[in-house]
Symmetry: C2
Subunit: 251 residues, 2 copies
């Protein structure tokens, strides 16, 4: 069985539309590449009750929970308090992180607000932050990361090799310009029935120059079936009169 994961995005700025999230896509791609199945993403506000509830209810349903956001020094950074509450532990100073941060910002700048970033739920294992030192951490199966994409990425890249991997999910994609989903759908449905172990997806696209078409994706952990199905997708497209191209659509 493939390991499973959920991402919890913590941040009013995503829900208000101020910020376009890009962390989910970054994490999702990398999880797929190591065969970890992303089952759900939940985007929730900086609200203590909501965060604690999400952590409590979701962490028992998957192998890994990844959170992004809310571990900075400001009043709206409440993720660590919430993780501590969800696990029923305190949120004390983590001595090693405290010293590193104090060293980094200088003793005279190491005010109460910054010190908050050195509080980790009791038992948490820090995830290093080479950019701005304030750590993420691992608490049970919950991986707590920063919201700033540059920092989140270094944290996620550091933990990825430590996770249990599944068989990588491989995929092949055929693009057919000017193709219409409605013309392909019946043949595709038959193909899906022939290959129940893989996932066949159909995604209309409009590229930057206003060209449109459909991308057809065969995806799964069994390389042979994916290859076979992709071959049949190509034949299907040709039989309808389309001219399929593999790879990304040309601009």
């Amino acid at each position: 069985m493939s390991p499973t994961a959920i991402i919890i995005v913590i941040g009013n700025e995503i829900l208000s539309g101020r910020t376009q999230d890009t962390n989910v896509n970054y994490i999702a791609k990398k999880l797929a590449s190591v065969g970890i199945k992303l089952k759900e993403v939940r985007i929730i506000p900086d609200d203590r009750k909501v965060i604690v509830h999400a952590l409590k209810t979701l962490r028992s349903t998957v192998d890994y929970v990844f959170t992004t956001g809310g571990i900075g020094p400001t009043h709206d950074d409440i993720t660590s308090d919430c993780v501590a509450e969800a696990f029923g532990v305190s949120n004390p100073i983590h001595e090693e992180s405290f010293k590193k941060l104090e060293n980094y910002v200088g003793a005279k700048n190491f005010n109460k607000a910054r010190q908050r970033m050195a509080h980790l739920p009791l038992g948490a294992v820090p995830i290093p932050n080479p950019i701005s030192v304030a750590p993420g951490y691992i608490m049970g199966n919950v991986y707590v990361m920063a919201g700033v994409p540059q920092i989140m990425r270094t944290m996620f890249d550091a933990i990825l090799p430590t996770l249990r991997h599944g068989d990588p999910i491989i995929s092949r994609t055929w693009y057919a310009f000017d193709a219409l989903e409605g013309a392909i759908a019946e043949g595709l449905s038959t193909l899906q029935q022939t290959y129940p172990q893989i996932e066949i997806g159909s995604y209309p696209f409009y590229d930057l120059n206003g060209k449109d078409g459909v991308a057809l994706v065969a995806k799964g952990q069994d390389q042979t079936s994916v290859k076979e199905a992709a071959k049949k997708i190509r034949s299907l497209l040709i039989s309808i009169g389309y001219d399929p191209h593999e790879g990304e659509p040309k601009p």
Copy 2:
């Protein structure tokens, strides 16, 4: 009280990392502009049980549920079946939509797969689709839209004026280059306590040229408090020695 909303994004392609979602940000911004509070976003797979469960449990918790994705002609487009099941109704042919689609694609091309797009849960009110005719629809407080951004946008723009609006959420933002959250956090926390009715957010940024800093946002429905708080945020930044700029950060 402001009306509330949840977005359910339905699509394996988001969870696999194949597609970077942009629909949430589009909807979130517009909801904020008319004072509808987006409480949560849930991204879920093309899985019948999961979709039905999400619809059933979430729709009673908010005024509006918006869904994107899964209403095309292919086998992985199962949103309408799920909405029908969640509401305990059938999913029959919607005559008017059927005729429009048949007209649009031509009788001889109007195959079984395309006809699926003319099935709407019993009682649903169509949302017109000027781009490719296959409609979205309104079922109770659930607004079902396409996943393709171009189509989703025309659908959402059409329904937005029909929703109950709250007082628009206004915001003012100060950008301080080279500023550090840790230096501002304590003053900001005091400010937040002074203005409990508005939301004060702090968002570190890295711009395209590698410049970094912090964006400080005062946001709420009471214009006077937002203005006052924004003024005080500016003073706070200046008192620390930063040079705040209003508006978007310059590239």
